[in-house]
């Protein structure tokens, strides 16, 4: 397939129309050679008799309608993969950018992947302890889950994601039985992080790089970086490259891979730019009608497969424009992912870290990862009780603003106090604080002592006896 076409007819944004072509396939990869000899990659978006619409993965700057050569490569975009990718840094189109040698690929994989057969999936139910109370107790993360962080401009999502990547691990059976398990036990040696950055600032990319370096995780990480000054169209490929690498590591090399993708908002914007250049009928807010399907082809590349040891856990980060959760990007994401961790500006302004708000955060897979044998029997009750109490407490707080605190009933006052303590003691924790799930649950029981017993409808009476009393006795012992 070495025919070079010099028939570029139109150039619009990242799109090229090439005329008089023959035998060009949909989605085929092509190489564009500019008049100055530089080469760029593109793919076929539409193929008709005698016309191909090509989308460049790089900027079209310098391209000319005359003299530019287009060569169709007869294959789709592929990534050469090998275990040597661990510890390496690549640019947004998969070229090494750490001055290291080229990867000698073990095999080449189509970056679009293929949908996992639902019948071949294994249901994810391994509890991952992140050491963060609001996630472990209320929005339990599970191996093989896709759990995005819904953030806003200026919120500390990068720190949170880095903390998760650093602390996440699966408890051993012994630890669960003993009810311990905070301090660092050697991490599973088949653990890897794949990181994809699309359109983030140099600093943010550097933050992650430094984080990985500092903790020694870099040797277990594969980084794909497309920063804000890199071409927009390349952002379409970046997450796919990262997920292809992750799939290879997880399903062929048995790694438990955590994939962090930031920032999905930039990805969607790139998609919109290309859609607009193609003059497609826009859906909501100018985003293409197929945004849902397109996002699904990324997010659904998480999970576990029967008979394979590895897994892919996805933590995509997206910044909600104007903190608006009904914006198409967070909205469609929420419909595909298995929950979301939502960061709240109000909490952040109170200097609470991590500002994870229980209302609006959710983990859909938590049901099987809470309770006896996995964590502790009181886990799911505690989750429901804390969230319900905090929601009520926040309501009371609003009421107190109108009526004044003195006019609240005793019960309401109790909720108010609970809400304040909950924010200070449960949500708040240090950036390097690694709380075990059991410690987090115990903090919960301590906080519930603020609430009258008759109001505790979500926790089982027997558990109140066991855990709250234990707590009280311990407290009494201390004062004595």
């Amino acid at each position: 397939m070495s025919t070079a076409y010099k028939t570029v007819h139109d150039i619009a944004g990242p799109l090229l129309m090439v005329k008089d072509v023959e035998g060009v396939a949909y989605d085929e990869l092509c190489e564009i050679e500019l008049t100055d000899g530089s080469k760029r990659l593109g793919k076929v978006l539409e193929s008709r008799e005698g016309l191909a619409v090509v989308q460049l993965f790089e900027s079209a700057q310098g391209a000319t309608t005359e003299g530019t050569k287009v060569r169709f490569l007869g294959r789709t975009f592929e990534l050469g993969v090998s275990e040597d990718m661990l510890g390496r840094i690549f640019n947004g189109s998969g070229k090494p950018m750490d001055n290291g040698p080229e990867i000698v690929p073990e095999k080449k994989l189509d970056i679009n992947g293929a949908p996992i057969n639902p019948a071949s999936r294994d249901f994810p139910d391994d509890f991952i302890q992140t050491g963060i109370s609001t996630i472990d107790v209320l929005n339990t993360l599970v191996r093989g889950q896709k759990l995005p962080i819904f953030s806003g401009a200026g919120l500390p999502h990068a720190q949170l994601a880095a903390q998760i990547a650093r602390q996440a691990r699966v408890l051993t059976e012994g630890e669960v039985a003993e009810g311990k398990g905070a301090e660092t036990v050697e991490k599973d040696d088949k653990f890897a992080v794949v990181f994809a950055a699309m359109g983030v600032t140099f600093e943010e990319a550097q933050f992650f790089k430094n984080e990985f370096e500092k903790t020694g995780a870099l040797s277990r990480a594969v980084l794909f970086l497309n920063t804000a000054d890199n071409p927009v169209a390349e952002r379409i490929a970046t997450p796919r490259l990262a997920l292809t690498a992750a799939e290879y590591l997880a399903y062929e090399k048995d790694y438990h891979v955590t994939v962090i993708i930031t920032d999905m908002t930039n990805y969607c914007e790139a998609l919109r730019e290309i859609s607009a250049a193609r003059k497609e009928v826009p859906g909501r807010r100018g985003y293409p009608g197929y945004l849902y399907t397109d996002l699904a082809t990324l997010y659904e590349r998480a999970g576990r497969i029967k008979g394979k040891k590895g897994s892919i856990t996805q933590i995509p980060i997206l910044t909600m424009p104007e903190d608006d959760v009904t914006h198409p990007i967070p909205d469609l994401t929420g419909y595909i992912t298995e929950g979301q961790i939502r960061l709240d500006r109000g909490l952040h302004q109170k200097t609470i870290f991590p500002p994870v708000i229980p209302m609006g955060s959710l983990s859909r897979l938590k049901g099987k990862a809470q309770g006896e044998g996995v964590t502790r029997e009181d886990h799911s009750g505690m989750d429901a009780q804390l969230t319900a109490c905090y929601a009520r407490g926040v309501e009371v707080r609003e009421l107190a603003v109108i009526l004044g605190e003195s006019s609240l009933s005793d019960t309401d006052k109790a909720y108010l106090k609970f809400a304040d303590r909950f924010e200070k003691e449960f949500i708040t924790q240090g950036e390097n604080e690694n709380r075990s799930i059991f410690d987090s649950l115990n903090i919960g029981w301590d906080l519930l002592t603020e609430i009258p017993r008759s109001e505790l409808k979500r926790v089982k009476p027997a558990q109140i006896e066991t855990y709250m009393k234990k707590k009280k006795e311990a407290a009494e012992a201390v004062t004595a």
Partner: protein, 586 residues
């Protein structure tokens, strides 16, 4: 018959081909050398637009298109139950075997039903019988729960010339029927039916019995009729899928068709791993034995997603025609609408609202109208029903968007999921002020006869109390609880008990997950009894309302939803007694 034409354009799932003058609308074609399955959706002279049910990357102009002469159909015969299909009835397990990979690859052709499995067919018709479409020729024990009835194909009638019992594959002839013209037709168990055409029935009836779901908020406040249609719209995280799965597990239909249309892979896996272990409450058999699943997840080809709801409903109709009560859950119809939008966009059609095609309304209506309680085709006037419950995922939880609105125009039950309730962990998060049912009047007679005379009046009272609460809440928000009269305070208290102790239901608790109608009735009645008993007490001068709130029996009421089903009668008798004695002691 096969004739070749060539591709002229490929853009995502849309392929345009030339030389297609012989093609029919909705004909199935095989696209390219890889023989990808597609369906003709538009014809312009020689040119045809084809929606392709598989990934089209690597396909280009000049490749061949092959006509098959058939419209997109499903295969109907024993073996459907317990199957898991993709959107165009390919068994996912066979795809896995054929592809030898956990990933779905292209160009895989697998039959919807096993051709080699043998079924034990017992003829019930005899030679010489006059039969017409829908009449039962014989039965096959398909699973331990469902007896499959082999029917005369809809468009055939005549005299049975031959019919034999025995072990047959689905393609072997089990009967011969001679029509009026003397032509002999061989009938096998395997029949086909085009998915876009509703299967014929004798006539539709008015639904008058409830589909019992075991969920208190649904059965008591917003019941759906057997053969009815309902919609569950709600933002993400409000519990659409959990509600749909609960319905699939507990509703008292005999056959369940569950369509995962453009939804999460892991969620389908959850159903797939859970159902074989869950027992049918009535027979103790695994639920899977009455279930057919269609799983076309969000990352599977978008055109097959469009077809998946039709595939599902055609299979559902087939079991309805046997005389069964069938319930179909479609999760989510918004993804189906989006698939239509995507195809419409690629066809460059003039868009209607929000980019959806102008025919969104008529397609939605056409789909939900396939629900109903019917007199089945055939001469024995058996009845079957098909209840359809569709989840809707409105963007941003905004119910004014086109898919929700078009759905509400045709469905009679509206279960509005509310994110705010979900945030407070109130489940099922169905908003009691927004939701409605139009079947309440139809079903009143049944409830009165089967459960209790005052069932309907209690229901109305509970709704009134909840309505009043929402008004009183506004007052409280402005001036505080103290401004309310004792009677109003009691209303607030009762409403709170209805919400927290009756409507709240723990779907993960083995006892609470399913509530029988009897238990639902007694639980609500106990709460109302509490209110009735308290009313004369609280209006006494100097009565401290707090005393009522602190009665220990309130905690017992809160635990009443956990009373075991076997002891409903006595437990609630005891509870009512305690309520009476404690309140009268005030």
């Amino acid at each position: 018959m096969s004739k070749t034409a060539t591709i002229t354009k490929v853009a995502g799932p849309l392929v345009v081909a030339n030389g297609m003058s012989d093609a029919k609308m909705y004909e199935v074609v095989k696209v390219s050398k890889e023989k990808l399955i597609g369906e003709v959706i538009e014809l312009h002279g020689e040119e045809a637009s084809i929606q392709v049910y598989e990934e089209t990357s690597g396909i280009g102009p000049g490749e061949p298109v092959e006509l098959t002469g058939n419209t997109l159909s499903v295969e109907l015969a024993p073996g459907l139950l317990t199957s898991i299909y993709d959107g165009i009835q390919r068994p996912l397990e066979l795809i896995e075997k054929e592809a030898q990979s956990p990933f779905i690859t292209r160009g895989i052709e697998v039959p919807g039903l096993s051709r080699s499995a043998k079924w034990d067919f017992t003829a019930t018709a005899s030679v010489g019988d006059e039969v017409s479409g829908g009449d039962i020729l014989g039965t096959v024990p398909e699973t331990t729960l469902i007896e499959h009835k082999v029917m005369v194909p809809p468009n055939l009638s005549g005299t049975v010339e031959e019919v034999k019992s025995g072990n047959f594959t689905i393609e072997e002839v089990i009967a011969v029927i001679k029509d009026a013209d003397g032509k002999k037709h061989e009938v096998a168990m395997l029949q086909k039916w085009p998915i876009r055409i509703p299967r014929p029935v004798q006539g539709k009836l008015i639904p008058s019995e409830p589909l019992i779901t075991g969920m208190r908020v649904l059965d008591m406040l917003f019941p759906i009729a057997r053969g009815g249609s309902g919609a569950i719209p709600g933002p993400f995280g409000a519990g659409k899928t959990v509600t749909q799965q609960s319905l699939a597990k507990y509703c008292n239909a005999q056959v369940i068709v569950y369509i995962g249309c453009g939804e999460r892979g892991n969620e389908m896996t959850e159903v797939l791993t859970e159902f074989p272990h869950l027992k049918d409450p009535n027979s103790g058999e695994p639920l899977m034995k009455r279930t057919i699943m269609i799983a076309n997840t969000s990352n599977m080809p978008v055109a097959a997603r469009e077809a998946s709801v039709y595939t599902g409903i055609t299979i559902a109709e087939y079991y309805r025609d046997m005389g069964y009560d069938v319930a179909l859950m479609a999760d989510s119809t918004s993804r189906w609408a989006e698939a239509m939008r995507e195809m419409s966009g690629r066809l460059e059609e003039m868009p209607g609202e929000e980019g959806y095609p102008a025919y969104l309304g008529s397609r939605t209506a056409g789909f939900y109208e396939r629900a109903g309680i019917v007199e089945c085709a055939g001469s024995d006037s058996r009845k079957g029903s098909l209840s359809v419950i569709g989840a809707v995922s409105p963007p941003g939880g905004d119910f004014s968007e086109p898919v929700t609105q078009n759905t509400l125009r045709v469905t009679k039950v509206f279960w509005a999921l509310d994110a705010k309730l979900a945030y407070k962990r109130h489940f099922p998060a169905i908003n009691w002020l927004q939701s409605y049912t139009l079947y309440a009047d139809n079903l009143e007679g049944w409830y009165g006869k089967e459960i209790a005379e005052d069932f309907a009046s209690n229901r109305r009272r509970a709704q009134e109390i909840l309505q009043d609460e929402s008004k009183l809440e506004e007052i409280v928000r402005l001036v505080g609880m103290d401004a309310l009269s004792p009677k109003e305070q009691l209303t607030m208290e009762t409403a709170r008990m209805i919400r927290e102790d009756f409507l709240f239901q723990n779907g993960f608790d083995p006892v609470d997950a399913y509530s029988s109608l009897q238990k639902q009735y007694r639980l609500l009645k106990s709460i109302l009894t509490f209110a009735d008993m308290a009313e004369p007490v609280i209006v006494q001068e100097d009565f401290e309302f707090k005393k009522l709130q602190e009665l220990p029996v309130k905690e017992e009421i809160a635990q009443a939803s956990f009373f075991p089903e076997e002891e409903v009668e006595e437990s609630f008798n005891k509870l009512d007694e305690t309520i009476r004695s404690q309140i009268s002691s005030l």
